[in-house]
Symmetry: C2
Subunit: 129 residues, 2 copies
């Protein structure tokens, strides 16, 4: 029986981009990447799993910070090559910099300006090492 995983058009590296959007606020938190296994685990567990391209490993969002994403809805786009997760962001912080979301630089008069406050020191979130 074909799986919902077969519908997705994985790229040459076996990945698709996945947007996480906060259910309550509608805030776009992150763009991360998923492979087949991370989408499968996300669907099965109800918690967002991604593929870390830098560490080259499966990554349960919040596994070290505790800031997991509880998934309310998984959507696929019209040409089957992008995912949208509607999530509850536990702890209110999605970004490893200690901000609510990763999209914190705003283009303003030809330069990127930091537009969002740091809510928590990353050292506090991840420890010092």
């Amino acid at each position: 029986m074909p799986s919902f995983l077969d519908t997705v058009r994985w790229n040459a590296d076996g990945l698709v981009p996945a947007i996480a959007q906060e259910a309550g606020s509608g805030r776009v938190l992150t763009l991360a990447w998923m492979n087949r296994e991370s989408l499968e685990r996300t669907a099965a567990s109800g918690e967002a799993h991604y593929w870390s391209r830098s560490r080259r490993k499966l990554w349960r969002k919040g596994e070290s910070s505790g800031h997991v994403q509880r998934v309310r809805e998984i959507r696929l786009d019209c040409d089957d090559d992008a995912i949208l997760l509607v999530v509850e962001q536990v702890g209110g912080i999605a970004c490893h910099t200690g901000r609510e979301r990763c999209f914190h630089k705003r283009l303003d008069d030809g330069a990127w300006r930091d537009a969002d406050p740091v809510l928590r020191d990353p050292k506090e979130i991840y420890g010092d090492d």
Copy 2:
């Protein structure tokens, strides 16, 4: 003088993923791709420009449908490899299928189901040919 375009971490194909989010509703409309020129033109014109990977050309969103995206805000994420556009979607239809947004398939009990209505016949939007 370095340009804001130099901050962006373009991938091996010279592209970054760009999310379009509707300003009023917070709805995530599309995930498309930008090259350097499309980001430059988006910033200069205030209208969303992308790179069409299938047609291999610069593409002003709405150039054939009239459904342009007026850009209110351009954001970059913490590791400089994803863009978020906050837009007004003229005509209320972002998807070439005639739906409000591209993310119209929802995972439901192990299968993708069409969750959003078609608001306008694509033939009406683009013509028959």
